[in-house]
Symmetry: C2
Subunit: 249 residues, 2 copies
């Protein structure tokens, strides 16, 4: 698919995330390539939220006590509210949410199959690391999109309180038994590897999306150099988060 | 435990649900027996909501498509919002929600173990029938309690949209294959039987609760005759609901 990522793009190569407006959704989505790419992003994000709901609800079953169970159920419910925002936007722009999410079901389910947590702590690390990588990625992309999509995505990416909960529980477990740290550090590396490999696969299969991210046509400096830098920033943030958990990445 | 269910009770035997006020929480809860009984009701209800969240999230995994999955996740999330209301009230009256819910974990988990759905349709029927019986019971009790508890319980019992969804799906499945109806009718009877047997067990083990419901001390006509009538009404409503599903009860 031949696309022009944004007719309103300034086309400069500023290396840091820019917040300069490229226009609203109505203006930018007149370009079919831009529209298709943003629909892909919203679809992937929506299914990601629905999937996060399911995973957190699953983790709630493994919770060692009622208070932890309720805390996870609360986070699952927050993820669902985020899904609802995306669902409503897709309907608003005349799309069937199910159709838009469909291409991302298989890659995400593959990721979950490859990284099924074997216990409560692995589940916590997975949710923490996985959500954080996804959040970093979408935030980086969001600031380069039209105003309406950016505002929606930043709202959806708002904190669900999960991070601090996971950090507290994992640090405590490592304090109680330091061997837990080694096992979870390995687990964190495996998660990062699988996440990158599935993300790569999705981008390779979705023309409009890859054109938006790395194509000749770019939005606000989205060229290969910038994408490389973006992945470096995401990897650095991952390293810091693993350290916050008390784990070597 | 010797209790006086309510010092403010009028003590009459009106057979229908009365909405006459017996006072607010502060007045009624001065009686330790009343307070203990209401805490039991709120604890059972709170764990019921948390458990409904888990069960619906589990059913979402069995859903035949993305739209159904999202619909169940939406209902699970609504149940969690209800849990949150009860949690916040328990904290407000100086109680630890975990402590108050604890006595009801085992009976509810027993019920769920005895009635694990083997497929998507059994899950739908269970959620529909189970929620409805619980809702009928709590609504009957709520109108006899202090104003604050009554208002909270009626809010928590508000419709989550589950009923219509389950009715639509089950009726459609029976239309497609009438043998499904026979199997699900048997399933509905088993659910009602298990629900009654667990409810009986809980009431027998909780002195304050049984005093409130059937004890010598009673709130607004809660004597044995009235309790019998209440169970008749709940059973009749169950029969009607099963008919709405296209099932003989």
């Amino acid at each position: 698919m031949e696309t022009q990522a944004s007719s309103a793009s300034s086309g400069d190569d500023t290396p840091t995330a820019s917040t300069a407006s490229i226009g609203d959704w109505a203006t930018c989505a007149a370009d079919p390539g831009y529209r298709a790419a943003v629909l892909d992003l919203l679809g992937a994000l929506a299914y990601g939220e629905l999937s996060a709901f399911e995973r957190l609800a699953e983790d709630a079953k493994l919770a060692p006590g009622l208070a932890d169970k309720a805390a996870l159920a609360r986070m699952a419910s927050a993820e669902f509210q985020h899904y609802q925002l995306l669902h409503d936007r897709l309907v608003e722009v005349g799309e069937d949410p199910t159709q838009v999410m469909n291409p991302f079901v298989e890659p995400l389910e593959s990721f979950h199959r490859m990284t099924a947590p074997s216990d409560w702590l692995e589940g916590l690390v997975k949710a923490y690391v996985g959500d954080a990588i996804a959040t970093d990625f979408y935030r980086e992309v969001a600031v380069r999109l039209d105003d309406d999509t950016r505002d929606l995505m930043l709202r959806v990416m708002s904190d669900t309180g999960h991070a601090q909960f996971a950090v507290d529980r994992v640090r405590q477990a490592i304090e109680e038994d330091s061997r837990v740290g080694g096992r979870l550090a390995l687990w964190g590396r495996r998660l990062m590897g699988e996440a990158l490999s599935q993300a790569q696969r999705v981008v390779a299969e979705r023309d409009a999306l890859s054109n938006l991210l790395v194509g000749g046509a770019h939005v606000q400096g989205f060229d290969l150099v910038e994408v490389g830098k973006m992945f470096n920033r995401i990897t650095e943030a991952h390293t810091k988060r693993m350290a916050a958990l008390g784990l070597a990445s």
